[in-house]
């Protein structure tokens, strides 16, 4: 870890000396490659999530609706790899900490640039893991929106990681294996201690993973001690993000509810008329951007049947509008790939019961491979564009 804290105007403090063991390149390489793998998984799955949630214009009507479990896996991995990276990052920084005090602080322009890039790498890594972890608990101590800043700093992190690997390539190869030339030149008596540290690091990764992964990987629900969500908690067997009360849904707003379906032949349906249409049952997960997910049984009307009845063209984007008063996702745009998928429902029932108000009564969208915030609740209008 190197920063750019050198300023020629101030007297430089006497550099500390480090006599402790394992602040060496072999330990840094062994931990660094695990950390690099975790951060790469985190970056790629983060990009997937961003594209699915805020699609760029080229993908706006072409996102894949399959595999149905896709977003559940990628977003579960995003949060799990970020959590696994926390102990890896702390051990990596501990290993290279003495490099912060390297003398002279700046040897040349390339050296200064390298130290600057390492400062960007460390700062962005700490920020991404800290802000992502806090977001999973819906705790926002910073005065800006989480999503755009977490997204932008993710690019800084992955870019400075690639640059770091390029700069350190000779050292990484020299210390890659236990028998590599660089490793062989290190004091042999450190090997046992190093192995113990790597085992402990693996145990730390295992511990934080096992105690949190149950929020999305339900077979581990019994070990879910520290995750912000638990699959066993939530109305009708499913956790909730935005409740009816917080969305501003009142009994008054629902009185005389009718679904409006727009297209070349627009029409309206009452709840009874919707219930009289052919119903389909599907098993699909709600997968939240915060990492938790759970599968559920949904019953309702195929969205494509509703669109066909309005004479909507096959390739049309669909705009879905909720009755909710608050929140950024009142209006949701659905690519035709989802709207035409036979698994995509306007659901009326959840796990065999009529939807509860917090799950979107009277009707909500459930589609495969989509972030939870786009599974619009309290649907009032569906229009082919």
């Amino acid at each position: 870890m190197e920063g750019m804290r050198y300023s020629p105007r101030f007297p430089v403090l006497k550099s500390p000396s480090f006599t402790g063991r394992l602040h060496d390149a072999r330990t840094a390489t062994a931990v660094g490659r695990l950390l690099g793998t975790a951060l790469t998984v985190c970056f790629v799955t983060g990009l997937v999530s961003h594209v699915l949630q805020h699609p760029p214009a080229v993908f706006a009507n072409a996102l894949p609706s399959r595999p149905a479990w896709g977003y559940r896996v990628t977003q579960g991995l995003h949060v799990a790899s970020g959590i696994a990276a926390i102990p890896l990052l702390l051990v990596k920084l501990w290993t290279v900490y003495p490099r912060l005090f390297v003398r002279p602080p700046v040897r040349s322009v390339p050296h200064a640039l390298e130290r600057l890039s390492v400062a960007v790498l460390v700062a962005s890594a700490l920020f991404e893991l800290f802000s992502g972890l806090f977001n999973t608990a819906q705790w926002y101590p910073w005065p800006f929106s989480f999503v755009p800043v977490h997204f932008a700093v993710g690019w800084l992190l992955f870019g400075s990681l690639l640059l770091h690997v390029a700069v350190k390539y000779p050292q990484i190869t020299a210390y890659w294996r236990r028998r590599s030339a660089g490793t062989a030149a290190l004091p042999a008596e450190d090997a046992v201690d190093r192995r113990a540290l790597l085992v402990a690091t693996g145990a730390a990764v295992g511990a934080v993973t096992l105690t949190t992964a149950g929020q999305s990987f339900t077979p581990l629900a019994g070990l879910d001690l520290l995750a912000p969500r638990h699959p066993g908690h939530g109305e009708q067997g499913l956790p909730v993000n935005r409740t009816a009360a917080r969305a501003g849904i009142t009994a008054q707003a629902l009185r005389g509810w009718r679904l409006y379906v727009g297209g070349p032949q627009p029409y309206e349906l009452t709840l009874d008329e919707l219930r009289a249409m052919p119903q389909r049952e599907v098993t699909l997960p709600i997968a939240c951007v915060e990492g938790w997910s759970k599968s559920a049984r949904w019953t309702g009307v195929c969205v494509r049947d509703l669109l066909d009845r309005a004479g909507a063209p096959e390739g049309a984007l669909v705009r879905v509008t909720s009755l909710q008063q608050h929140g950024a996702y009142r209006v949701m745009i659905m690519p035709h790939t989802y709207a035409r998928d036979p698994l995509t429902l306007l659901a009326l029932r959840l796990n065999g019961e009529v939807l509860s108000p917090d799950h979107g009564f009277p009707a909500r969208i459930i589609a495969p491979n989509r972030p939870g915030v786009l599974q619009t609740k309290w649907v009032a209008r569906m229009e082919a564009l």
């Binding site: 920020f127 800043v149 800084l156 390539y169 113990a196 879910d224």
Partner: protein, 136 residues
Amino acid sequence: MRVARVVLGVCGVAFIAVGVWVLGRGAEDPGQVARWVVGPLIVHDAVMAPLTLLVGLVVARLPARRAVRGGLLVAASLTAVACPVLFRPGPLPNPSVLPLSYARNWLLALGLVAATTLVAALAGARARRRDRTGRK
């Protein structure tokens, strides 16, 4: 190899440029973003790392230093991950957010780590004793 390094480095710089561009294009206050991105770096380098090294000075002198270091590392990682669920202030949006008894769960996890550390330390001491007597 040289080509791979150059390609990797150029991609890295390009990705950093994308990040800066996305940040600059956004509506967020750059001063606040800088404060919150640099803040954790300063807290880590100036507070957390020196404290860890001080603890390390003590641990290095203990008879079962490897087991103790491992136990402390696992406990510290669990604590770091539990911080937001343990200390989140303010009312919760609904009962399915943070539904567990996190303080109890965290203590339970640390208890398990302490027990495992003790077993590992005893096993290590026993193995060392056997080593010594075997060599005599």
